[in-house]
Symmetry: C2
Subunit: 307 residues, 2 copies
């Protein structure tokens, strides 16, 4: 019972209306691992870092049950670096710098010990790499979930279309869903995208929650209304980590259980935005998580008997 | 057991990406009455129309249990007229024409027969008129709900602040809530607005659903994901009508029942946008409404036992 998480481990420099960090750890696989490790061990991590990546961070991940056997350390290059500045509404941001560094050479080789993993979370990465990871697995995982972004829709559509035929669940945000499907209505977009391969589609709408589509069914999970969103960096990856973590823990890939997994993902994401980078994710306890999930229940539960 | 609905009865000319109407009936009190009349009779309507307002429409409203005793008919003026064109995203629109006509002289005199009404829905109108209606009531209703808009925040803030101290529930959309409170975070905006008077605040987010705030509690109702939004005109007023209709039918003004009322309002609004103007609202049956509410249950219900 284990899960493979593929994605970036990186340094970010973030500026929000609330403050500014110098370099802070980040990356899709780092956020996903911190979130998922609350629910399942081991996390079989697949990533690449440079000589500059913090040894303490590696030790902290290891201590949380994250296997680093699949994390390549390049001795003469720096880690992937991203820098961005959020606007006042926190929904939009400017990228100030993207230094690929080690990521330019990322060509992951899956360790043999990862072969028995039952679940696969493909974080946002070049589609060719996502395909390569799936093809290296001798046995197909029970569930393959992938994330992607507008950059790959624009620059690697053909590879993206191929990987879409190989996965079970796609996660995109609303603008990416519209771009990929060329439909404005999210209901129409969902139908078009599910016709491209994935049986399940999750459309993330940031502060407006997330939708899960499957055949003609739809489920909606709200985002928790927060007084302040301190730093949205990594919220989507944290959502993905919570989602796959819950699925892997319960080993239940039914639509009904995916609904619960999306609530778990939303709860984890609501922690993520409370502090810079992954700081809040490192602090929270099982009690915190249970309390937060209870808040989601209270947020949407109503008494239908009164209607 | 009755409800007073105050607001406009008007003609609209609407253009959406799907088509164009010539004059079609509309107005906040008309939409609210069509929605509320599914749940409660009589609706004690308070409005003003001109000589041109359709007699057939009046008869249709009467047939649905809407009392027109409080609807003034001005023999030598035309009805209020609004014309607008929606953008492709259906969330923004340009106003092409606003002809006040009879509305310029609106100074409603409450019929004696309305005095025993238990619930009051103040549709979007000049705050001074909203105050006047409340002051004409000899006994305070069990629940006073009001709507308003950016125009009154900008042009009649002092009157608006007065009426806010007199009502129980305020409904605004997200941008109006931010404008009124001068807070970007909706959670902070809600606290600031509840400090202005209303014990309950509903923030409508269009396709992103609605939030209900009360003290430190919050409830979220999603909007139903639809393939097409044909015409959003009147959706907010229809929501208000469904809300007050459910409250009046159940005579239960608890926070728990308001949650259900918001789901009922959201269900009614989801019908409204399916056709031009109030056309769809005139067609639907109890079975349609029950089926739609069931869709809302399916949309948000998840199995917490699995977490």
């Amino acid at each position: 019972m284990s899960v493979i998480v593929v994605g970036t481990m990186a340094y970010d420099a973030i500026e929000t209306p609330f403050g500014k960090t110098s370099q802070i750890v980040g990356g899709s696989a780092l956020y996903a691992a911190y979130a998922a490790s609350n629910f399942i061990k081991p996390i079989n991590q697949v990533s690449i870092v440079g000589y500059d990546f913090s040894k303490d961070e590696m030790a902290e991940l290891k201590g949380r049950g994250v296997s680093l056997e699949g994390v390549e350390i390049v001795p003469d290059k720096k880690s992937f670096f991203w820098s961005g500045k959020y606007h006042l509404d926190m929904n939009t941001r400017d990228t100030l710098a993207t230094d690929l560094n080690v990521l330019a050479d990322f060509n992951p080789l899956l360790p043999d010990s990862y072969q028995d993993s039952e679940f696969l979370m493909l974080g946002n990465l070049m589609p060719a790499i996502q395909i390569s990871v799936i093809e290296q697995l001798k046995m197909r995982p029970k569930l393959i979930v992938m994330d992607t972004m507008n950059f790959w829709i624009e620059s690697a559509l053909s590879d993206l279309q191929k990987v879409l035929t190989m996965v079970d669940v796609l996660m995109v945000n609303d603008s990416e869903g519209r771009q990929l499907s060329r439909e404005f209505s999210l209901v129409k977009a969902a139908k078009a995208i599910m016709n491209m391969g994935p049986k399940y589609l999750i459309i993330k709408k940031g502060e407006h929650g997330a939708l899960l589509f499957h055949k003609n069914e739809v489920f909606f999970a709200p985002a928790l209304p927060l007084e302040d969103v301190f730093d949205p960096t990594g919220a989507g990856d944290t959502f993905a980590g919570g989602f796959i973590g819950h699925i892997a823990r319960t080993k239940d890939i039914s639509f009904q259980n995916m609904k619960t997994a999306i609530i778990v993902g939303s709860a984890m994401a609501s922690f993520c935005v409370e502090k810079f980078g992954p700081l809040r994710l490192k602090e929270i306890t099982k009690t915190d998580i249970d309390g937060r999930i209870k808040q989601f229940v209270d947020l949407v539960q109503f008494d239908i008997a009164l209607v």
